[in-house]
Amino acid sequence: MDIEKKHFTCVTCPVGCEVDVELRDGSIVSIKGNKCDKVKEFVLQELKEPMRVLTTTVRIEGARWAMLPVRTDKSIPKRLFLQAIGELASIDLQAPVHISDVIKRDIAGSGANIVATRTMKRRSEAGRARQRNDASAG
């Protein structure tokens, strides 16, 4: 079998080693350029299925702002990102929303949920809070 060569930048830590990996039948033959052993785990995961946290926004009605920031509550396969964004485009969301509220379960069949990353009050409540200056935070 031919040897396949791949390059990775390990992001396990800020050093960010640039590593050259040789593969045969999908198995690692050699890794060069790494400064520690954690790189192997990183490369194996990247080969198998790159996993990332998705952060994006969802349109929301009745709030001060048009967009609610959201995230997945755990890493999902990177290849599902666009499908996830597509599913979120058709969501019908109304304020108020509280931080950590689940906006969509099992996004793109990943098993992860989309959760709100901030609290958004209804527009009228938000307006009153703005007028009540000199009040304590919240």
């Binding site: 930048t9 992001v11 946290v53 702002w65 901030r118 609290t119 200056n133 000199d134």
Partner: protein
């Protein structure tokens, strides 16, 4: 109006400073914010990576802000929203304006500056060409996309590889725009490595080092830009120019600490950081006025911003309580070999000294960071201008120092 501690700006530095001032015993703490909500720029930074050190959590910007705002709610800090500070005097009288109180003054025993930065725009870098719509800073695009719900363009070129530009390359791609490339005038990237990998490589967005935009074309709207290679003196190389069709040019070309108020108070500013010359206590050259976060110097990580906010808040509370003797003496902290920025710039023998150091040039070899005249040498695997190095030196080690403290980075 009277205050023990008045904090100006409610981004991460201001929030942490206000919380810490209150926790340190200051009774009457005011937090002044020009926007209608607390949190500053955190609200539009919807990506994760915030608070890893401070809270041991991987928060997004809004989550991190909400966590701090919750902590603030447990203190007695009074917040003034929609309130613009227009002047500060050296005797710590603050002039502010809002639509309820009109123009009003606050006499503060101590003041914490936490106004942050603004972005460098087209005018600061002088790109030739026409002046069409579609040229905007990365942070403006971030606000439009993440808060207001507008996509600023469909075919995008990004000039500058600062972290905000990298984050926006990913963000715009996910929202359906095509990012044609990131062009960086230096021969090394401006942003953190994890952002190069997760924002560019993950989406096959090319990064061109030693390149810049030499012309903007289009009348009403951007129709494209001309990019050129640059030589080692950052001058465009003749014949290397290439036209790239696009409708939007994002600029991620650096941040400028926002120090108009500081200048008005007569605070000495540093020519390297463009922020106040600051002591380890975060006190500026004007007694009782402290500064923290990105208004002092541009930090890479919110954890560092928060740490300076904590120090400023604690010391501002101490100053307001009168528990603050005259500075016994101070020595300068100066940048030596291969150091572009060292912060703080002054040491007053009150606290331990936490140094934030930005290397001048990248060194991809083992380096030693040394602090003279004390015998301290810290080993690192590399030095990169896009990653600040933080080193803490205890007060005991510095007790006998009489001359300047010099920080340098050399290969070992």
């Amino acid at each position: 109006m009277q205050a023990d501690v008045a904090v100006i700006g409610s981004g991460p530095a201001g929030l942490v400073a206000a919380i810490e001032a209150s926790r340190s015993g200051a009774k009457n703490v005011l937090l002044l914010e020009r926007e209608e909500e607390l949190g500053g720029i955190l609200k539009q930074c919807i990506h994760n990576g915030f608070g890893l050190e401070q809270f041991k959590k991987d928060y997004t910007g809004p989550e991190y802000a909400e966590r701090l705002i919750e902590d603030l709610g447990k203190t007695g800090v009074r917040c003034f929203l929609n309130t613009m500070v227009t002047a500060i005097s050296a005797d710590r009288t603050i002039t502010a304006v809002n639509s309820q109180n009109g123009v009003f003054q606050i006499e503060a025993k101590s003041v914490v500056l936490a106004m942050g930065c603004r972005e460098r725009a087209r005018g600061s870098i002088g790109i030739p060409g026409t002046r069409p719509a579609g040229v905007l800073t990365a942070g403006t695009a971030q606000r439009l996309v993440n808060i207001e719900g507008y996509l600023p363009g469909k075919e995008v070129v990004i000039l500058g590889s600062g972290d905000i530009g990298l984050i926006m390359a990913r963000r715009l791609t996910l929202e359906g725009a095509r990012v044609k490339g990131v062009y960086e005038i230096m021969n090394y990237p401006g942003g953190l490595k994890r952002n190069i990998v997760q924002c560019l490589n993950d989406f096959n967005i090319p990064l061109y080092l030693s390149h810049t935009v030499t012309e903007i074309r289009g009348r009403e709207r951007v129709e494209g830009v001309v990019v050129s290679k640059v030589d080692e003196k950052m001058q465009p190389i003749g014949g290397s120019d290439k036209f790239i069709q696009c409708d939007t040019l994002l600029l991620s070309v650096g941040l400028i600490p926002e120090n108009e108020l500081s200048k008005g108070a007569g605070i000495e500013l540093s020519r390297t950081t463009n922020g106040p010359v600051t002591a380890e206590t975060m006190e500026t050259s004007v007694p009782g006025i402290f500064s923290c976060g990105n208004v002092s110097t541009v930090f890479d990580l919110v954890d560092y911003v928060a740490q300076t906010g904590m120090s400023a808040g604690r010391n501002a509370a101490g100053f307001a309580a009168g528990a603050w003797k005259e500075n016994g003496g101070a020595v300068e902290v100066v940048a030596g070999e291969n150091v572009r920025v060292v912060f703080p710039q002054r040491y007053c023998f009150r606290d331990d000294l936490t140094l934030y150091i930005r290397p001048a040039r990248p060194v991809e070899k083992p380096v030693a960071l040394s602090i003279a005249p004390v015998d301290i040498s810290v080993k690192r695997l590399y030095a990169r201008p896009n990653e600040m190095i933080r080193v803490k030196v205890s007060r005991e080690k510095l007790e006998k120092v009489t001359g300047p403290i010099e920080v340098s980075i050399t290969e070992r």
